[in-house]
């Protein structure tokens, strides 16, 4: 196995609220190998976007480590962070809100290069912008267009081009297709996969959509209320889902197939992530919930090689 490009060690992000600490990211241990994709799945409020932002130091972690090529980037000073951003970029969820409406397409794509100062010659910069536009499938005539003149799919292509502008190794894709129509969504997913093949990019792909994540990921982490409850290869997750929440998520997806029947629907909703009680956070919605689930702290145990679960039902076998 090759060394992970990026790894988190007991990563935590708590937000202070008037009612106590909100556990957005709680002891997350993940790693992504170079050239691979880790899918992070969960419903709104599970902390998946915060996790992506903490990795890029867009929000500061409360504790733990983020190792990039073995170095803890949480210890970096401002200058080092700026340098790090040339390696790590992000594609944002909402192509309507993440582009400055007063900048043209070329200004948006060139901005990261300008900030990092990697290309100073203006003609070379121009060529780079055109190259990036053709890489992501944007017609060159749009170079002076403003975002409002373009539809969602084209705007998201600008977001992709901007992330690629500084030739990064690692990109956090935060729900890059959820604001798009299905036919456009498929275009962007294909684009992201082609770019990975060509450039050897490493992705963290954050989404709420399990079918999208299956399509694009090597490994998948399932998050629930700030914790990672299951982690394994994409294939294993769909063949042998272990955590009751993962099973519930899979059961809830309506497949476009008349012979498909949805599985058992779980009751209830997310509980508050503010000052969560000890024990399993899924317990109140879980049909297997036993007394000990409410008392004991759970461990993230490796049930079969490479398949980790945080559930009392599997921790006793170890």
């Amino acid at each position: 196995m090759n060394r992970p490009l990026i790894q988190t060690v007991n990563l935590k992000k708590y937000f202070n609220t008037p009612r106590g600490k909100l556990h957005a990211v709680d002891n997350i241990n993940l790693s992504i190998n170079r050239g691979q994709t880790l899918g992070v799945v969960g419903e709104s409020g599970c902390g998946k976007s915060t996790l992506g932002r903490v990795l890029l130091r867009l929000v500061e972690a409360t504790g733990g480590q983020v190792l990039y090529n073995g170095e803890d980037i949480l210890q970096y000073n401002a200058k080092q962070v700026k340098k790090m951003r040339a390696k790590m970029q992000m594609i944002f969820q909402d192509p309507y809100a993440s582009l400055n409406p007063r900048m043209t397409v070329s200004e948006i794509i060139a901005e990261p290069i300008r900030i990092l100062g990697t290309i100073t010659d203006s003609r070379e910069l121009n060529r780079k912008v055109f190259r990036l536009m053709s890489t992501v499938g944007l017609a060159g005539r749009l170079v002076n267009a403003y975002p409002h003149e373009l539809d969602g799919g084209r705007r998201q292509r600008i977001g992709v081009a901007r992330a690629l502008a500084v030739d990064p190794e690692f990109i956090v894709c935060d729900e890059p297709v959820s604001a798009l129509d299905v036919s456009i969504q498929a275009q962007i997913l294909n684009l992201l996969m082609d770019l990975q093949d060509e450039m050897g990019l490493t992705y963290m792909f954050i989404t709420h959509d399990l079918s999208v994540v299956r399509h694009i990921s090597n490994n998948i982490a399932v998050m629930y209320l700030g914790q990672c409850v299951e982690l394994c290869s994409a294939e294993e997750l769909f063949r042998n889902p272990l955590h009751p929440y993962t099973r519930a998520l899979l059961a809830a997806i309506p497949e476009p197939d008349l012979n498909h029947r949805m599985g058992e629907i779980i009751k209830g909703e997310l509980t508050s992530p503010i000052a969560p009680p000890a024990g399993c956070r899924f317990a109140n919605r879980c049909k297997h919930c036993a007394d000990e689930c409410l008392r004991q702290e759970l461990s993230f145990s490796e049930v079969t090689p490479g398949h980790f679960v945080m559930c009392k039902r599997y921790s006793d076998d170890i």
Partner: protein, 327 residues
Amino acid sequence: MSDKFFSIENLSVEYIADDEVVKAVNGITLSMKRGETLGLVGETGAGKTTSALAVMRLLPPRTGRVVSGSITVGDIDILSLSEPEMRKLRGELVAMIYQDPMTSLNPVITVGDQILEVLELHKRQSKAAMKARVAELLELVGISAERADEYPHQFSGGMRQRVVIAMALACEPELLIADEPTTALDVTIQAQVLQMIRELKTKLNTSMLLITHDLGVVAHTCDNVAIMYAGEIVEQGTVADIFNGKRHHPYTNGLFGSIPRLNKQSKRLNPIEGMLPDPTNLPEGCNFSPRCPSCMEICKIKSPRFVQSGTHRIACHLYSSEGGANA
């Protein structure tokens, strides 16, 4: 048998922008029987919501107008009604569940009072009787009646959508229009709300027009399906026709090819190239022709008519010379 309860005939709707005319809906024809669920499927800008607003007579008054066509619910011709007459029927005969539960509720009125408002407009009843009905409606959609005095912000997204559904059901409408009722919700909550809608529909024998872009939702809730593209219906049939039939409109094939599937691992998706045509400047001939992988010469000149075989109708030149009675 063929007693249509709800029908739209040749409906066209335009929006007038500064100096342009946006052709949002272009001559659609639909019908459904009592108790049925019809899925209206399409992507952003296909004209789904505009069609629904036309049925509710809620098109923006200055910019939107029905150019031609008729809409009938029961034996009432919706488009010929005066505004006061329509106001009486809105909620009682036809009601709508709006897409976004975060913005379709009034943030400064308790949910109980918002449901009560619907009853006050339509029913002459005592306050106590109406209060009791509010409690009943909340329980019906799975919310404890004690929460009637809470405000929308105290509810989660799924719970708010239940409140919106309770409002729509308050006067037991005969036709329910649900505009992307679960799009803003998480999957586990979507599954709960869809199950509830299915159960309520059976219990109350309501007819439903379900607007969605999600073919998965359609497979699990609808009896019939109409696929819309650029303001037109391109394919129509029973769910079996659409999901299991052999022949499809190329756009329908494109939609199915774009969806990543759970039970199949394929390396690449097969999206539809290009994007929706500009509704102020629709192409000659078939609206889908610029994106169509099987586009022929005739497609660029003449817009296709429906080819019918049984319950299945497809508007595409690919099938027009083959067997099956022309519609």
